[in-house]
Subunit: 335 residues, 2 copies
DNA sequence: ATGAAAGCGCTAACAT
DNA sequence: ATGTTAGCGCTTTCAT
C-alpha cells in the first residue's frame, strides 16, 4: 500500500541515496539518464515522501506553530492570511491553536508544538506565562511575539504602534472641535495593547492643552458589568461628553446601540473613532472612522522574521513597530 | 541538549521499553516503584517525547488538516473554534490552510497534508477537484467534506440545510406582506451553497402561490461587475421590488448602502433578510434579520466524525444535515 | 515485570 | 556518479 523511497529505488534500479538526492535537488552529480528513470519511477508509483521520517532525520519539519487568542476577529484572520502566504512561499506549513487568553491553555499548546518539533512559533501572548516565554528564549526556540509586548523579554517582537494609533484618533477628534473626549477599553493590565491605546489617548489630550484632570477613561471589567451597562452608566453620568475613542470594535457596536437608544446623534452630539477597520465599518450609519492596523503585514513580517531566524539561527531580538493609519468617515465629522 | 527516551531510561536505570510503556499508560505490569522512578526522571530531565518519532513508528500523528476557502469570515472562525475544541478534547492538533477557492492550491495543500501524514482532513471543497476527491475516497483517506456538497462523492459530508434556510427567509418575507421578493447570490454553479439557497428561494415563492415567472434572481459575477453596481442596476430596473433575500452578508452590506443612497427606506419600502448571522447584524440600522447557521456545531460534528473515522476505520459515508434558524429583527418588519 | 532488538522512512557521511 | 551504512527517537514483538 504505502510506497517508500526504497520502492522507488528498486523500480529505478538505483539506491535510496540516489533517489533522495534527486528528490532534494542535489542532482549536480547525476546522469540525466538516472534522473529521468528515478523521476519516472516516482511518477508511476505515485510516490510521496514521508515528512515525518524526513523531519526525524533532518531535525527540521518546515512547520511553524501559531498561537492566537481567538480566531473570531477580522484582524486575526487577516494576520493569519499574511502568515499563510509567507509560509507557502517559503515552503512551510502551519499548525494553529487559540489560547482564549488562558495562560494554562497557552502553555499546553506550546508544549504540544514543541513535541511536534515545529521549527518555531508565532504567538500573540497572554502575557501571563513569563517564566515559559523566558525558558523558550533560553533554549533559543525560534519565536516571534506579535501584537502585544512582554516586559523584559529578549525575543523578537512585531507590533503595531498603539500609542500612535490612539493618538491619531484622539487628536483627530480634538482638532475637529470636540472638547470632552472619553476613551473606552477592556480592563486588563497585562495586555500592552489596551494600556498603550490609553496612553496614546492621554498623550493626545496633553498635546492639545488639556491636563490629566480632563482624562475620562472607562475600563470595562467584563466579569463585573456588561459592556452595554457600563457605557450607559458612563454616558448618563457624563452628559458633557462630545467625543468617544473606542479601543475595540465590539465595544464600538455597543456604543452605537446605546447612543441611538438614548437618542444622542452621531456625530452631531457625539463623535466616535474606533479601533479596528472592518468590512462593516463603512456601512454603519453613520459610517465609522477607524484606526486601521496593517494586519496582513503584521502576519507577513512576523512569519518572515520567524523563518529567517529558523534558517539563519541568529537570535538577536528584532523589534518591529508597524504603523496604523486613520480612516476618516462620518462618525467623526465636525459638530 | 535534546533529551530522549534513552536518557530517561538511563537516569531511571530501566530500559527504553519500560519508559515507553509508562509514558503510554501501559503500566498494568509495572511496579509502583519503577513507575515512580521513571516519572521522576522524566520530571528532572524535562523530557518531552518526540512526536515525529512516535508518529513514524506508530503510523498515527494525531494531527488533522483543515482546508478552508478563506479565514476572513466569522462563520469560518466559528467553525474552526468547534473543530479546535473537539480536537483538544480528543488529543488532536490542527494543521490549517486556505485555498482561496483555487483548485490548484487546494490540491497542493492536500498533497502537503498527506506527506505530513495527517490522520485525516476536514475540507470545504472548491468542488473543482472531483478526481482528487475520489482518489482520496478510493485510498480510504479519512475525510469530512463540510459546508458544500460534491456530486456523487462517496464521502462523509456535514452541511447546513441551505434550501430550508433560504425557504424560511423568503417565506418570512412573503408571510409578512411582501409581494415582490428578489434574491441575490454570487454566480458560481459549482458551489452547492449558493445554488441551494436559490432553490429554497424558488420553493418559498411556489409554496406561497407564485409561479416561476415571479422569480427575480440576481447572480453576481464578480469578474464582470461590482457587487454595488449590479445591485443598483437591478433596483433601478425593478422599482416594484419590496423585499430582498441576500445569500451573503458582504452583498447585504452593499445592499444597505445602495438603498440608503437611493433613499429607499428599510424596511418600510424594502425588507431584507440575509445570510449569515454576525456580530454586527443586530447593530445595523435597522437591525438585520438573518439566517443563522450552527457554525460551531458544524465544526464540532465534523471533527468528531473525522476522528471517529480515523479511530474506527469505518468508512460508510455519513451525511449530516444541520438546521439553520431565522433571527427576526427590524429589517424585515411588516411594511 | 522488564529488556533486547528490529525497524518505521528518510538523510548524510563516507566510501568507491 | 552512485552505493553502503548508520542512525534520527520511538514502539513493539518476542524473550526472559
Amino acid at each position: 500500500m504505502k510506497v517508500t523511497i526504497g520502492d522507488v529505488a528498486n523500480k529505478a534500479g538505483v539506491s535510496k541515496t540516489t533517489v533522495s538526492r534527486i528528490l532534494n535537488g542535489n542532482f549536480n552529480h547525476n546522469t540525466e539518464e538516472t534522473k529521468k528513470r528515478v523521476l519516472e519511477a516516482i511518477e508511476e508509483l505515485k510516490y510521496r515522501p514521508n515528512s515525518l521520517a524526513k523531519g526525524l532525520k533532518s531535525m527540521r519539519t518546515n512547520v511553524i506553530g501559531i498561537v492566537l487568542s481567538s480566531f473570531k476577529n477580522t484582524f486575526w484572520a487577516t494576520v493569519l492570511e499574511g502568515v499563510e502566504d509567507t509560509c507557502r512561499e517559503l515552503g512551510y506549513n502551519i499548525m494553529i491553536c487559540s489560547s482564549g487568553d488562558d495562560p494554562e491553555l497557552e502553555e499546553e499548546y506550546i508544549r504540544e508544538f514543541q513535541m511536534r518539533q515545529v521549527d518555531g512559533i508565532v504567538i500573540n501572548p497572554t502575557a501571563l506565562n513569563t517564566k515559559l516565554y523566558n525558558e523558550l528564549v533560553e533554549i533559543k526556540f525560534p519565536m516571534v511575539v506579535i501584537n502585544r509586548k512582554v516586559n523584559d523579554l529578549h525575543a523578537h517582537n512585531v507590533v503595531v504602534d498603539n500609542i500612535r494609533g490612539a493618538f491619531m484618533a484622539v487628536d483627530h477628534l480634538l482638532k475637529n472641535g470636540r472638547k470632552h473626549v472619553a476613551a473606552f477599553a477592556y480592563k486588563n493590565k497585562y495586555v500592552s495593547t489596551w494600556q498603550e491605546r490609553l496612553e496614546g489617548y492621554r498623550a493626545a489630550l496633553l498635546a492639545n492643552g488639556y491636563s490629566s484632570s480632563n482624562f475620562k477613561i472607562v475600563e470595562i471589567d467584563k466579569e463585573e458589568i456588561s459592556v452595554k451597562e457600563s457605557i450607559i452608566r458612563f454616558v448618563e453620568e457624563n452628559p458633557d461628553i462630545d467625543g468617544i475613542f473606542s479601543t475595540n470594535n465590539v465595544i464600538t457596536l455597543e456604543i452605537f446601540e446605546v447612543l441611538k437608544e438614548m437618542n444622542l446623534k452621531i456625530p452631531e452630539e457625539i463623535a466616535i473613532v474606533s479601533y479596528d477597520e472592518t468590512d462593516w465599518a463603512k456601512h454603519l450609519d453613520p459610517s465609522l472612522t477607524t484606526v486601521r492596523q496593517p494586519a496582513y503585514d503584521l502576519g507577513k513580517v512576523s512569519a518572515k522574521l520567524l523563518i529567517d531566524t529558523i534558517q539563519s539561527k541568529k537570535f538577536d531580538p528584532n523589534k518591529v513597530i508597524l504603523q496604523p493609519d486613520l480612516i476618516v468617515r462620518k462618525s467623526s465629522s465636525k459638530p
